[in-house]
């Protein structure tokens, strides 16, 4: 039996059998026949067996991991994005009705915004009760009646739809504050078209690319005034945001820089990008805003925001920068508006509202309140209560009595919404195909004077086991073409993106992220090499205490402990912990997580191949978790190392811009630091044999074993090793080589002059190396090599200083914004320091890393 046939049988039986939920099925009609959009696909889809779906699901998971697609629920950790391999398929007839309704809705919502932040006729005439708007957190008073009115505050909006029992689509909510999901929708499409290529080709569906071109064009045209070459940026809350992936995807697909609040500065009422060093400021004309309005300006809005730009609201009010969407658009993310939209549509557009919303009653209206309270008392409570602000967690866990108290206390803050059954579609949940409820997120864009819905969308799949509905996965949405010759997205005329200019922007925060990418990548690599060497020694000798091997193992373990502490006595457990425990500072998992965070901050500037590294690492970790044997430790560590080396390969292909040089600088500096730590292992003498074993390990960990063998024919002596690792001009693993590279990278950065502090510090260290005499260094005194110890002890703090100086010069953008009151208020200030007392200037102020 194939999955589709099983599904048809099962759903027909449930239609006949239990009538518990009258649910529209997206694939099967009540009579057991396939619905229109699936009929042409039946011959292909019908062949899929359960085994095929297991494979498809694995492929989907792997592709998503390779692309680094993630999502974090509010307050939860980042998780891999979930995608169901079976798409939601809609026929052109169903779609065209939706499309007209969605276009009208976007136009209406725009008109509502213009009215609410301007004439307020909807409120004054009682068409929308005032508290629905003024008591909503998204209502942004700071932009009510500004001197410069934005005629199109709504450029891009999302609307969520679900079917009622009769199969009619109903609106369940709008997302206008900062609509997310378009990036996920596109990623879903990429993956599904790869895992189901035949079906995808056969289906004849609307491709999505032209929609991105239109979005790009719409954003460029959003700029105020007549600018030849407007600058558009995507404002993100940062890599820890729930939808960071989506934001970075949009930014990199559109070719607009992804910026954080601290990357921008307001000067004289205009918005600029900060530039590293002393470069000129570059003006920003349009901001695609993914930060909620309340957090965008600590001066005019929430003072505790670290995500915003002081003065931004003033720039918006003066019409000097366009926000997409407008700052007050969050007021539309408001179920309290739903009951009043039909009248608002008549009032503002003079036409009936086409798309019906789910039945909703505002509790601020006495009739609405009575209706909701009655419904709540009924068995099975057909109505759910939501706060108009949509803070979903607010009512979670509320007892019935608490709920009643809250509603009666402040009825205007709540609505009651009739539950919709939703429609169901075959979904692969928990390794089983079953019918799961789905909803559809749609997108509309103002392009060329009219709103155009994306022909497609993002479907959400719910799990109804347990207490309530929870999202478990997503689906690609296929809208089939009426005629195969139809242009994709109905957009035959948009300019393809290749014709558009795209200049990368390097703000100090981006340089900082690249710097740490370099450092964490090198840190991970070096740690893995040391771990592999140590593991191999341990495998050989751990059963023979007191042998030469055991003594050298102790030395190597000491270096590891210096880097990442020691957690377990048992060696195998210790190695696993070093690889897997992400709460272990200095361990592999910790460094990988930090590397990923740094990369996420500059995701818009990276090749998509970058994320394969993490797919590889994730699979290596899974394999390690699945296999308890020690050979797996080496195998997984090796695979993780492969992932990191692949990353070096990807970054080698980057354009040679300041970001790349900063990455190189970070990598070389880290290499120097790791090398100095590693060489400490060779400072202690424990007898010739042990020393030789240790030096062998040091060479391997510094990836110089092969070079050394070729040069010294396997004759390992401290002098040769130190020469190769400290002074060799051709060995990329030597201190001299890495420092020389570091200097070259620094010289290429925009703030460098040839004599800046980091450059000077590197030069100083290099000339110290010129003075070195290997014979002196290897000289033995007492238990060890005192000259070598002294040298390493003098280099380590110099490297730290170089790191601080680099951050100070190239990265530091000054202190973070604070409100007047966040600076401690005292009765009197201490006396001024005497002029000329410059002692404190010597201290670099290191940023937390």
């Amino acid at each position: 039996m194939t999955v589709l046939r099983d599904y048809v049988t099962a759903s027909t039986q449930s239609h006949l059998g239990d009538s518990l939920v009258a649910r529209y099925d997206e694939v099967v009609a009540p009579d057991g026949s396939l619905r229109a959009p699936w009929r042409p696909l039946a011959h292909l889809a019908g062949q899929l067996t359960e085994r095929d779906l297991v494979r498809l699901d694995d492929d989907v998971t792997r592709f998503l991991a390779d692309d680094g697609v993630s999502y974090a629920r509010p307050g939860a950790r980042r998780q891999p994005w979930k995608l169901d391999p079976v798409p939601l398929v809609l026929d052109p007839g169903t779609w065209s009705g939706l499309q007209t309704g969605l276009a009208q809705r976007a136009e209406l919502l725009n008109a509502v915004l213009v009215d609410l932040y301007g004439a307020q006729s909807l409120l004054a005439e009682g068409i929308v009760p005032a508290p629905v708007v003024t008591a909503h957190a998204g209502y942004t008073r700071q932009v009510v009646r500004p001197p410069e009115v934005d005629p199109r505050p709504l450029v891009f909006t999302a609307t969520d739809l679900a079917r009622d029992g009769a199969g009619e689509w109903r609106v369940i909510g709008d997302r206008a504050q900062a609509p997310s999901g378009l990036g996920y929708a596109m990623e879903n499409r990429r993956v599904v078209s790869r895992v189901l290529p035949e079906l995808y080709r056969e289906a004849g569906l609307h491709r999505m690319e032209p929609y991105f071109w239109a979005l790009r064009s719409a954003l460029l045209q959003s700029a105020n005034g007549d600018l030849a070459d407007p600058r558009v940026v995507v404002l993100t809350p940062g890599p820890h945001s729930e939808t960071a992936y989506d934001q970075a995807f949009i930014a990199s697909t559109l070719g607009f820089p992804l910026v954080e609040g601290n990357d921008l500065v307001v000067r004289d009422g205009w918005v600029y990008l900060r530039q590293p060093g002393y470069g000129r400021l570059e003006r920003v004309d349009v901001i695609l805003r993914r930060v909620d309005a309340a957090w965008t300006d600590p001066l005019a809005l929430r003072g505790d925001s670290q995500l915003g730009v002081p003065g931004l609201v003033e720039a918006v009010r003066r019409g000097r920068v366009r926000m997409v969407n407008g700052l007050g658009s969050g007021v539309l993310d408001n179920p309290g508006l739903l009951p009043y939209l039909p009248a608002a549509c008549e009032h503002l557009l003079g036409e009936p509202l086409l798309l019906e919303s789910v039945d909703t009653w505002w509790c601020g209206d006495p009739d609405g309140l009575r209706r909701v309270l009655d419904d709540l008392e009924r068995p099975g409570a057909p109505t759910v209560v939501r706060a108009i602000d949509g803070s979903t967690t607010e009512l979670a866990g509320c007892s019935f009595a608490e709920l009643l108290a809250r509603i009666t206390d402040e009825p205007h803050r709540y609505v009651g919404q009739r539950r919709l059954p939703f429609s169901q579609a075959p979904s692969w949940i928990g390794h089983r195909a079953s019918a799961a409820p789905v909803t559809l997120r749609t997108f509309s864009l103002r392009y060329g004077g009219a709103y155009r819905p994306l022909i497609g969308g993002l479907a959400n799949v719910y799990d109804e086991r347990g207490t309530g509905l929870s999202t478990v996965s997503s689906k690609d949405v296929w809208v089939l073409k009426e005629d195969p010759a139809d242009p994709d997205q109905g957009l035959a005329d948009v300019l393809s993106m290749t014709a558009a200019r795209s200049t990368p922007v390097i703000v100090p925060r981006v340089l900082e992220d690249f710097f740490w990418v370099g450092r964490y990548a090198e840190r991970t690599e070096d740690l893995l090499r040391l771990l592999l060497v140590t593991h191999a020694v341990a495998e050989d000798y751990r059963t023979r205490p007191g042998s030469v091997g055991a003594a050298s193992l102790d030395v190597l373990l000491g270096v590891l402990a210096h880097l990442a502490g020691r957690r377990h006595d048992d060696l195998e457990a210790e190695f696993r912990s070093l690889l897997l425990d992400d709460d272990r500072t200095g361990g592999v998992a910790d460094s990988v997580a930090r590397l990923r965070d740094a990369l996420t901050g500059v995701r818009d500037q990276l090749s998509a191949d970058t994320w394969r590294t993490f797919g590889v690492i994730e699979r290596a970790n899974q394999a390690l978790l699945a296999t308890p044997y020690s050979h797996q430790t080496a195998d997984s560590a090796g695979r993780i190392l492969t992932g990191i080396l692949a990353l070096h390969g990807v970054t080698a292909g980057m354009v040679r811009d300041p970001g790349w040089h900063m990455l190189g600088a970070g990598r070389m500096l880290e290499r120097c630091q790791q090398l100095v730590r590693l060489l400490h292992a060779s400072t202690v003498r424990r007898g010739l044999d042990v020393d030789r074993k240790v030096l062998e390990g040091v060479l391997a960990a510094a990836e110089s074993g092969v070079t050394h063998r070729r040069r010294y024919r396997g004759w390992i002596r401290a002098g040769g090793v130190l020469d190769l690792l400290l002074l060799d001009v051709d060995n990329p693993r030597s201190l001299r080589f890495a420092l020389t590279e570091l200097g070259a990278h620094l010289r290429a950065l925009p703030a460098s002059t040839g004599s800046t502090r980091p450059e000077r510090l590197v030069e100083n260290l290099l000339s110290d190396l010129d003075e070195l005499d290997i014979a002196t260094l290897v000289a033995v005194g007492g238990e060890g090599r005192p000259h070598l110890v002294r040298l390493l002890d003098s280099i380590a703090p110099q490297l730290l200083r170089i790191g601080e100086a680099i951050e100070e010069l190239h990265v530091r953008t000054g202190p973070p914004p604070r409100t007047f009151g966040q600076v401690a208020l005292v009765d009197a200030l201490p006396a001024e320091p005497a002029p000329g007392d410059l002692s404190e200037l010597g201290d670099a102020r290191g940023e937390a890393s």
């Binding site: 005032a130 003065g311 003033e314 604070r818 409100t819 007047f820 208020l825």
Partner: protein, 318 residues
């Protein structure tokens, strides 16, 4: 009228963005002859705008490094006591609740002053406290005035009693606070019963003690509240009450701005980029009446200042 706010820091401030509500607003009962706001050091950007309530807000950016920032506002203002219609004053409070009766003219625009705002949380305590003044059928003006008398009698003026983070609950518990606390308390009590009322920021002219010379800067910025009285037509009237001094607001009061609570209209707030760790704040207010006599601050309690604090919730005494 002069209002000077001085911030001093223990290190350079590289960039300072500020917003000030220090320009008295023109009103039917308040004529503003002249008004000037001067910022030192000279700001690179200085602009005046009108906010959603019609208040004049001043925006400034100082981008040159400085250790001291002075915001100084001077104005000449003529004020007469606002008159209210008897009919409006006699409206029973139950018939002045915009959320319950949205068809009253003007109810739609008063509605946002009848719901909770960030600094005016409707605690059960505030609701209960106000309940005994809001007796059934009582005229709103009378009920609000009674509430004002009770706040004046029950609460002690004490700048040490409350801090930046104090809530209305704290004020109720301590039975003490400053003018801002008393205004917020009355707002919470009235709003919890559905009545619309707004927070008003401004100045009160005070006289030097008998036989003493006028001391510059002895006055303070002040705060009170105004209660919405519906009228048969038009948007309604607002009756302004000062619980700190137990009187209706009259010709000795200069109205600067109003909003839902202090957070909407702080005299000065700002965001700075600095490594400074300490700062001092000095506020001087001088309201010199051209003529007239009368009551100043509450007897025995000299200058009080409601101050400016970024988070919009601070208060400082001088």
């Amino acid at each position: 009228m002069l209002h000077r706010t001085t911030y001093s820091y223990d290190a350079d401030v590289g960039n300072s963005y500020g917003q000030a509500y220090v320009r008295p607003r023109p009103l039917p009962f308040q004529h503003v002859d002249a008004c000037a706001v001067t910022i030192t050091p000279t700001p690179g950007d200085l602009a005046t705008g009108i906010d959603c309530y019609g208040n004049q807000s001043t925006y400034f950016q100082v981008s040159q490094p400085h250790r001291q920032l002075v915001v100084e506002a001077t104005s000449d203002v003529e004020v007469v006591a606002e008159l209210h219609g008897q009919e409006a004053l006699a409206t029973p409070w139950e018939r002045a609740r915009p959320l319950l009766d949205p068809t009253i003219p003007g109810a739609w625009s008063a509605a946002e002053f009848a719901v909770e705002s960030e600094l005016v949380q409707h605690s059960a305590g505030a609701r209960e406290y106000a309940a005994s003044s809001l007796r059934p059928g009582r005229a709103l003006a009378e009920a609000a005035t009674d509430l004002m008398h009770r706040v004046y009698a029950d609460f002690h003026y004490d700048p040490e009693a409350t801090t930046v983070t104090s809530t209305i609950g704290d004020v109720l518990e301590k039975r003490a606070g400053v003018c801002q606390d008393f205004a917020h308390l009355m707002l919470a009590g009235l709003r919890a019963h559905g009545v619309a009322a707004r927070y008003v920021s401004g100045y009160l002219a005070t006289d030097p003690p008998p036989g003493k010379e006028r001391i510059f800067g002895a006055d303070a910025s002040h705060a009170w509240l105004a209660v919405w009285l519906p009228t048969p037509t038009g948007p309604g009237e607002w009756l302004a009450l000062d619980p700190t001094n137990d009187q209706w607001v009259g010709e000795r009061y200069v109205t600067v701005a109003w909003g839902r609570d202090y957070g909407d209209v702080p005299p000065v707030k700002g965001v700075i980029f600095t490594d400074a760790e300490k700062s001092t704040l000095d506020v001087q207010v001088d309201v010199a009446p051209v003529a007239g006599e009368g009551h100043c601050a509450r007897a025995g309690e000299p200058g009080r200042v409601v101050g400016q604090d970024p988070a919009g919730m601070g208060k400082f005494s001088t």
